[in-house]
Each structure stands twice: as structure tokens, then as C-alpha cells.
């Protein structure tokens, strides 16, 4: 009996130590040593990347390979399950040499980036990134990521022709969404006023919260009120429940596509592009997908972008996962130095060519803005007009908002129940961070 108890205890100890190893880092290398000096060549680096990466990003990786003599092995993380795929792989203790990941503080904390990645704060790109470096991959004032992709700007993409046919102008508020929906249903029964991509789950969070909450989160005011415990997600008169209630009302009014519970992000963009859906709540990351479905000119002719919030026209933004890179501590100094070299290249010698090819807005100062396609120009205008930080950016545990919002639209939760669930997730993450 004693022997079996000892065996069980040993097993448990081994298990715990293995798990602990998977969560911590074995790297003892000094960050300052890694950030200075020449980058090694002839190194093979693995990168976990999002399959939604634009061609411009893929070409940037190739340009790095050519310039450095190093090789990048891309490990595909499917866009539809991107956060889960990364989290599950990360949890096993596996580490890439370069990690493409969300820049949100909440997402960075979920990988315990402060412990597991190299602090890049002293690198040259940080100054060029300006305020974005204080948001993207930033924990407690330290920058752990280089974000070369323009932030994800969230709002409403709408089909210009559907709107013109119904004699409507671009929506600005949730009341506009409701009234536009009524008109669109009357004008053409074949057009879904709003496309809801419930099958992918995460897009449901945009209409249920991101857009509605924008006006309440200017200066991250709402996020701060939650993290300082001066407000709760469950406050009956708070904007979180109000946002979900407004979105649920749109659903109950029949504004969504008939396959709202199984629809996908990619199909939502196709639908808005071809006019079978008049609107979709999404981010500027969708533009690259739209451009891959049709020429930029066709996209510009058919699709417009509008900043929409509860009662004001305010867009919201978050650091993009597409083009935000971390250097995880792997314990292999040579590879870590090479990965730092990759960051130097993409924010230095390779950056201008990337911006030119992407046709997007540069995030680093000193690089000329290329001629923007009309849709990008609309996004930039909404961003420059004072976009607020997206509500999920700084509240721990908010990675669950998509699935919870999907339950709301599937009629399985009320807005109050959904808020209770999110409050519990927040408290769980907050407790975990404090432990």
C-alpha cells in the first residue's frame, strides 16, 4: 500500500513538474545580449502564423529569408480557430522562435508573455511605433511585440449598392442599424440586412459588444472601470448588457441571415461583397480577404466602411494579430538572436517594401503612406476621427466573449446571463493573474 502511494505521489510530482516546465521558461539569456550585435545566419526559425496573413506578409517573410540567409518554417494556425490553436499548442510547452499573435494586453497575458517572451522595449522600432507600442504586446509598460500591421479597426462594412437601392446612407448608431434593417427587408427580401457569422463564433462579439461599447471605452475608460472594480460587466444599467440587448433585438427583428448560427467570417465577406448581405460587423483585417475575393476596384465599388457605436459614430480598434510578432524565450540563444534579427528586418530594411505591397497604412513613423484604396482610406478616416480601444483589449478573460455571444444569438442565454458568464471568466482570469 505504502509503495503504491509512493508511486502515485511520484507520478503526480512528475506530472506537476512537466506542467510547470510547460508554463515557464528555461531561458536564462540576457535580453540586452540578444538585442545587440549581428544576427546569426544559416539558422532555421519556426514561426506560428495566422493563415489569414496577407500576401504582403508572406512576401516579407521571404524577403527576410533572402536578406538574412536564414530559413523560416511556417506553422499554420487556421484563422477560424486561431486563438485556440495557439493556446493549445502553447500549453504543451511547445514554443516557436517567432510567434504571430494578438497584440491585446488580455491576449498577451493569456500566454504569460511577460515571463515567456523577450522584452523588446529597447529596440529601435518602439519609438517609431509611438502610442501603438504602448498597446500592442505591452504589459506593465514593457513592449514584447513588434506590430507592423495597421490596428484592426472595427465597425460596419456595408454593400454600397444595397444601400443605394434602398436610398440609405451609411449607419452611425445602433438605432440606424435597426431602422436600416427595416428598410432593407422591405426593399429586397433576398438581401439579409446583417450577416452574422455564428459558425465561427468570434465574429458574434463584434456586433454584441465591440462596436456598441466603442463610445464608452474612449481612453479605455470602460476597461479601466472594470479592472479597477468600480464597475461590473453585470451592471444592469451598464453598456455591456445594453450592447448585447441591442444586438439581440436586431436578431429578433429578423435582421440576420437565415444561417446566422452556422455562417462563417469568410462567407460574411463574400456576402457583403456580392450584395446578398447588406452589412457585416467586422474589422479592417477583412479588407485583405475582400481583396483576395475581388480586385481592389471592385471591392471599393461595392463595399464601404462605417464607424458605428451605441449612439455616436465612433470606431474601435485593437492591435492586429496579423503582423504582430513576439520572440518567445526558447533557451536557444542563436535562434533567439536570429528571431530578434527578424524583428529588426521587418521593422527596418524590409518595412517600406512591405507597406508598399500591402497598400495599407504604415504603423511606423518615417514611412510614406502608399496610395490607399478607397476602403482603406475610409478605415483610416474612422481611425483618425478618434477610434476607441476595443472593449476586449484590456479586460482579462475576454477571450470567451465570442462563444458567449454566440450562445446569446442561439437563444441559449439572455444578455444578463451572458454578462454573468463573462464576469465569472473575468474574475477567473484576474485571480489566475494574481496567483
Amino acid at each position: 500500500m505504502k509503495r503504491s502511494m509512493a508511486a502515485a505521489a511520484a507520478t503526480v510530482a512528475v506530472g506537476i513538474s512537466l506542467a510547470a516546465c510547460s508554463s515557464s521558461t528555461s531561458s536564462q539569456s540576457s535580453a540586452s545580449d540578444l538585442l545587440t550585435g549581428a544576427s546569426p545566419t544559416g539558422v532555421t526559425l519556426t514561426m506560428w502564423h495566422n493563415t489569414a496573413d496577407s500576401q504582403a506578409l508572406l512576401d516579407l517573410y521571404k524577403a527576410y529569408e533572402k536578406a538574412s540567409g536564414n530559413k523560416i518554417v511556417l506553422v499554420n494556425m487556421p484563422q477560424s480557430t486561431f486563438p485556440t490553436a495557439v493556446q493549445t499548442k502553447w500549453a504543451t510547452g511547445a514554443r516557436p522562435d517567432i510567434l504571430e499573435w494578438h497584440g491585446n494586453e488580455d491576449d498577451a497575458e493569456s500566454l504569460n508573455i511577460a515571463q515567456n517572451a523577450i522584452d523588446l522595449s529597447s529596440m529601435a522600432f518602439v519609438k517609431k511605433e509611438g502610442t501603438l507600442a504602448q498597446l500592442a504586446g505591452n504589459i506593465d509598460g514593457k513592449t514584447y511585440a513588434a506590430s507592423i500591421g495597421f490596428p484592426s479597426v472595427w465597425g460596419i462594412f456595408y454593400n454600397k449598392k444595397d444601400f443605394a437601392k434602398a436610398d440609405l446612407s451609411a449607419p452611425q448608431t445602433y438605432a440606424d442599424l435597426a431602422s436600416d434593417c427595416t428598410v432593407l427587408k422591405t426593399k429586397d427580401a433576398g438581401v439579409s440586412p446583417i450577416y452574422m457569422a455564428g459558425g465561427d463564433q468570434w465574429p458574434t462579439a463584434v456586433l454584441a459588444g465591440f462596436d456598441y461599447m466603442a463610445q464608452y471605452n474612449v481612453g479605455a475608460a470602460y476597461d479601466k472601470s472594470i479592472t479597477s472594480d468600480s464597475a461590473k460587466l453585470t451592471d444592469a444599467s451598464g453598456p455591456f448588457i445594453a450592447g448585447m440587448t441591442a444586438a439581440e433585438a436586431l436578431d429578433k427583428s429578423g435582421c440576420f441571415n437565415s444561417d446566422a448560427t452556422t455562417g462563417t467570417w469568410l462567407n460574411s465577406l463574400k456576402a457583403v461583397l456580392n450584395g446578398s448581405a447588406a452589412m457585416v460587423a467586422q474589422s479592417s483585417d477583412s479588407i485583405a480577404i475582400l481583396d483576395s475575393d475581388a480586385s481592389s476596384a471592385t471591392v471599393d465599388a461595392n463595399v464601404g466602411f462605417a464607424a458605428v457605436s451605441a449612439t455616436k459614430s465612433i470606431a474601435n480598434f485593437s492591435p492586429t494579430p496579423l503582423g504582430t510578432y513576439y520572440v518567445p524565450k526558447t533557451g536557444n540563444t542563436t535562434k533567439e538572436k536570429a528571431a530578434i534579427g527578424f524583428i529588426k528586418f521587418i521593422t527596418g530594411a524590409g518595412y517600406a517594401a512591405y507597406v508598399k505591397e500591402s497598400g495599407g497604412i504604415p504603423t511606423l513613423s518615417g514611412t510614406a503612406v502608399p496610395p490607399l484604396q478607397e476602403l482603406w482610406a475610409e478605415v483610416e478616416k474612422a481611425y483618425d476621427a478618434g477610434a476607441a480601444l476595443t472593449v476586449n483589449s484590456q479586460i482579462p478573460g475576454f477571450g470567451n466573449f465570442g462563444p458567449v455571444a454566440a450562445e446569446l444569438f442561439a437563444g441559449q442565454l439572455t444578455p444578463a446571463q451572458a454578462a454573468s458568464k463573462m464576469q465569472a471568466y473575468y474574475l477567473q482570469a484576474q485571480t489566475a493573474m494574481g496567483s
Binding site: 493556446q87 437565415s258 448560427t261 452556422t262
Partner: protein, 305 residues
């Protein structure tokens, strides 16, 4: 030492090798060793580790892992995840069990005789067993989509989202799982039917029992060993289901098809490893608590031929 006695006289001592001597036991242990190692490494150790982590606070947010007792179970219960996932898993298991066994018994009865035609059909019905569960899921997701072939062949004209409604999605996914395994279950039932002595069937026929009566009163009870095997296989399969759900609904709409294993994956994917372990522990408990008594009960009703 055992000895053979005739009328009280000791006539011969049983050879030493007849019983499991110490040397023989050791010899047999070598054969058992690979299985023991495999079970220990791939089942016992993970099971014990999972049991321990179920009581630990372990998340991606922190490198600290600490004991929190029933905290993880309490949390998944408060979030409504535990109860919902258990209920959905049970409905899934029962639906799969019924569909799988009804379809397979019917098919087995139809294909019982071994001839060329039946052999071809047995092979055809076995093909789904060989298909990757993910591939099967994607195929069925396309078939059941609002614009898919199923809606096209149905007599009424609409685009019903079979996987978009909470009830039909759960029933559909469980049925796909049942369809996938039905070829294998059918073969087990065919063997079970063919194991029944012809004389018993002929006796029942002479006694005036019709086909239905013969099936219910004679064949089905004698099919008990195959039934036990198939029921347990169906249940354990349902408790460990994940891939088909992923390929068809990913747990949706909302959380309508979020089985325990899907919930485990979702928690794990959020970096909440402690709660994922707690849910995983529940899966193991459910399998043990359900399967063991069920096997015992089903075994008792088996008839020795």
C-alpha cells in the same frame, strides 16, 4: 501440491508445470510487459496527472500552479458549463446508441447470410468506418447545409439549417457519429446472429413462432454478448467524441453540441488548463460510472450456448 487420488490411494502427483508456477508466472509477465508499459504510460500516468490537475489552479496567465480543491469544479458549475456539457453528452450518447444499434441490428439481419451480394454490401456499409472522422464530418456538414443536397431532395422547398438549430444539430451530429461506426457494429451483430444454433431457430419455428416473435424471444436474448459489446463501444465512443463535432458544428449553434470533450478543448484553448482538467476528469468518471455497472448488468443477462 495438488494430487490425484483414487479411492483414497495417492496414485500420482500432478506435474509441477500444470499449475502457474513462479517461473511460469514470470515468463507470462514478459508477454504482458508491453501492454503494462503502454497502459501505464498512455493511460495510468495521464489519468492520475489529470486527476491531480483537476484540483489545481493552472492557467496560461501564470506560471504558478497551486491546489484549489474543488474550485475548478465549482467554477465550471457556476458558469453552467459542467451541467450543460454532461446533459448534452448524455443526450448525444443515448441518441448515438439508439441510432447505431437499431440501424446495425436491422442491417445485420438483412445481411446475415454469407453470400456474394451480402459480402459486397457488408463491405460498402463498412466504408464509413474507414473514413477519417473529420472528413466524414465535413462531408455531412456540406450535405446538411441550408443549400446542401439534403434540402434539395426533400419535398418541401426551403433552406433549413440542420446544423443551425439546437435540437436538430445535436441529433444530426450524434446520428453522423452513429452512421460512421454502424458498419463495424453491423459486423459484430452478423457474427452474433450466425452464432445462434440453427436448431434453436427451427425449434421456435416448429412451435409456431413467427419471424418477429422468433427475433424478440429467441434471437435477441441470444444476441446479448454482441449487444453488450456494441452498447459499451457506442457509449465509450460517445463519451470520447470530439472530431465529428468539430468538423460539423464546432460545438454550436451557441453551445448546443458542446459535449464534455468540446468543453475541455474550449477551456484548454483559453489557457484555462485547471478547469479543462476538471471537465476531463468528469469524462473519465462518467465513462467508469456508466460503463462498469452497465457491462455488469448486460453480462448477467447473457445466455451461455
Amino acid at each position: 501440491m495438488a494430487a490425484v487420488k483414487v479411492a483414497g490411494a495417492k496414485v500420482a502427483e500432478a506435474p509441477r508445470t500444470a499449475g502457474p508456477s513462479g517461473r511460469n508466472r514470470r515468463y507470462r509477465l514478459w508477454f504482458a510487459l508491453p501492454a503494462i508499459v503502454l497502459v501505464t504510460v498512455f493511460f495510468l500516468l495521464p489519468f492520475i496527472a489529470n486527476g491531480v490537475f483537476a484540483f489545481m489552479q493552472w492557467t496560461g496567465y501564470s506560471t504558478t500552479i497551486r491546489w484549489i480543491g474543488l474550485g475548478n469544479f465549482r467554477l465550471v458549475n457556476e458558469l453552467g458549463i459542467l451541467r450543460h456539457a454532461v446533459v448534452v453528452t448524455l443526450i448525444y450518447a443515448v441518441t448515438g446508441l439508439i441510432v447505431q444499434n437499431v440501424v446495425s441490428i436491422t442491417l445485420a439481419k438483412a445481411l446475415q447470410q454469407t453470400n456474394r451480394v451480402n459480402t459486397v454490401f457488408r463491405a460498402i456499409f463498412f466504408v464509413p468506418v474507414l473514413i477519417s472522422p473529420l472528413a466524414a464530418g465535413y462531408i455531412w456538414a456540406a450535405v446538411l447545409s441550408p443549400t446542401g443536397p439534403l434540402n434539395t431532395v426533400l419535398p418541401w422547398d426551403h433552406h433549413y439549417a440542420w446544423l443551425g438549430n439546437s435540437t436538430t444539430a445535436l441529433l444530426a451530429v450524434a446520428s453522423i457519429d452513429a452512421w460512421k461506426l454502424s458498419g463495424l457494429i453491423t459486423l459484430v451483430y452478423v457474427a452474433g446472429f450466425n452464432r445462434i444454433p440453427r436448431s434453436v431457430i427451427e425449434a421456435a419455428t416448429l412451435d409456431g413462432a413467427g419471424a418477429w416473435r422468433r427475433f424478440l424471444a429467441v434471437e435477441f436474448p441470444l444476441l446479448a454478448p454482441a449487444f453488450t459489446f456494441n452498447v459499451v463501444l457506442s457509449l465509450i465512443g460517445a463519451f470520447s467524441a470530439l472530431d465529428i463535432v468539430f468538423a460539423t458544428t464546432a460545438g454550436g449553434p451557441g453551445d448546443a453540441t458542446t459535449l464534455l470533450n468540446v468543453a475541455v478543448y474550449n477551456e484548454y484553448g483559453q489557457g484555462l488548463f485547471g478547469t479543462a482538467s476538471a471537465l476531463s476528469f468528469v469524462v473519465a468518471l462518467m465513462a467508469i460510472v456508466t460503463a462498469v455497472p452497465l457491462i455488469g448488468w448486460l453480462r448477467r443477462r447473457e445466455v451461455q450456448l
